[in-house]
Symmetry: C2
Subunit: 313 residues, 2 copies
């Protein structure tokens, strides 16, 4: 039998909470997903998470810890959920404390984009790098920063929010009052909205479902000029925020994941072109621009990996 | 007699090279400045720097090391100057090696904005903070990043270049091909150029010397609406790059120095306003926005402080 330690990874999403047993970079068992919005209070949802963990523990006796990726701000040291972007009622929830009392295993809670970044850094596309910027492209745009071989969490554990950085100081007003936030241009919904309007300007009527990233990707592969134009524009805007992270942090590698990154070269080509054209020598020589290796499992695997690293410190 | 160790700090500027004896946060003795552009080759200038150091050593027997701040890219570990922005001929110069051979003291070479950041972090406005972003406003806009109690140098020692980060993905094309670089809006020359054009639009004729940051500052204090407008606009643009650094790094403190920062509240007020309005809770609560404590001596003091820290490791 393998001696690779087992941990529970929990990927807490706005739609569902997924709990799995993780060995290295594999999820070897899973509990049924929990529908996040069906719970009125954190307490009830936490009880449901405890049952999912107990369920898995009944089949795996050698679990050493639990890691949870949360969609919002988490005080990593205390395991305190400060607030969640799209789940009501989660403010100042002592998640680590409550779970540890009920599960009797060490529990660690971390921001979900940091979990994704950690998975890519330790087990995925970013293996071996000491300086890494990870970006996750989906409904929201998140990220994680590794510098000098350390995850940069910042003064209040909130670092890595590349999706909130501005690409235009006079741009669209975002959720936090910030102008020109990257997420407000290349989040899923914004991609669809801007593509619809590009088609409309060309006199072409489309439904919103024709303009999802997946549909735009398909259209572009079939030579649709407007879809190709959308991807070029998205790559260019993404390049600006990534470039800013490069000037600030001088990373060796950029890892791009999340659903939108499945467009592959449609977004990676313009990203690479605009990024490298706007950086000087020490910033671009040997800079690796890589697709993430993990897909929707990154959160679960990363959460478990962070917990395992933490208990071995 | 004080037991505070003495070190040589050298501030290598595009105009002059200033060499001083540093004790703590004080320059207690100085050699005559060397005119940078009078030397055709790095070798000659290095010989002149050696003479300046020997001159100071003849009066201070207990010097333990030499730190040099360079206006460009430096491989800090090797003490290798990769290239300088405004001084020709300085490419791949083994500065540390050459100086150590001639001076017989440990020598450390670092980027000048990092020296300024280090001085503010260890001895100035940023004392006691573990997460800090420093910005230096002058002809160029430079910076330095401290995260988790460590100077972030990046993969190739080039990190901290906040002046090259973009505030507008469709903005002005900068020195490195980057679009909308902060420096191309709030560098000394750009401030003057934009102010001239603001006056011209209002039908007011001004000379370039009426539009230096110092003159604009004076005019604004006397109620000149156009000058006040210029400062508001500068503060707003600076806020965008600082905000981006906050979302990425979640610092506890921002330190702003350099000549342009002497405008004081004229730039700090709009900076503070636009910055805090565009950040969410964990990014802005308890965020300190501070003027630098050191003026033009920051480079010399910081270079010496870095060298002293390095020899005590």
């Amino acid at each position: 039998m393998s001696k690779i330690p087992l941990a529970i990874g929990i990927d807490f999403g706005g739609t569902s909470v997924k709990t799995g047993v993780v060995r290295g970079c594999e999820i070897i068992d899973q509990a049924p997903p929990i529908a996040t919005q069906e719970f009125d209070s954190p307490d009830d949802l936490i009880r449901s998470m405890v049952r999912a963990v107990e369920d898995l523990r009944s089949r795996h006796s050698d679990l050493s810890c639990v890691g949870i990726g949360m969609p919002g701000f988490v005080d990593f040291e205390k395991g305190l959920v400060l607030n969640l972007t799209n789940v009501r009622g989660w403010e100042n929830v002592e998640l680590k404390k409550q779970l540890e009392e009920q599960i009797k295993l060490p529990v660690f809670a971390e921001n979900d984009a940091n979990c994704m970044a950690f998975a890519e850094w330790k087990l995925g596309a970013g293996r071996g790098y000491e300086h890494l910027v990870c970006v996750s492209l989906g409904t929201g745009v998140g990220g994680g920063v590794i510098s000098h071989g350390q995850m940069i969490r910042g003064a209040r554990f909130a670092a890595g929010e590349i999706g909130q950085t501005s690409i235009d100081y006079q741009g669209r007003r975002g959720h936090y009052g910030n102008l020109g936030a990257l997420e407000d241009y290349i989040g899923n919904k914004e991609i669809a909205r801007d593509a619809l309007s590009a088609y409309r300007s060309a006199g072409i009527f489309k439904d919103e479902e024709d303009c999802t990233p997946a549909a735009l990707s398909e259209a572009a592969r079939h030579g649709d000029e407007i879809a190709i134009g959308c991807w070029n524009s998205l790559g260019r805007m993404l390049a600006t925020s990534v470039m800013n992270a490069c000037w600030l942090l001088n990373p060796e590698a950029i890892v791009i994941g999340g659903g939108v990154a499945r467009a592959g070269e449609l977004i990676f080509n313009p990203l690479r072109e605009h990024l490298l054209r706007q950086l000087s020598g020490p910033f671009k020589e040997q800079l690796a621009i890589l697709p993430a290796e993990f897909g929707h499992e990154a959160g679960t695997i990363g959460a478990a990996a962070i917990a395992l690293e933490k208990i071995s410190e």
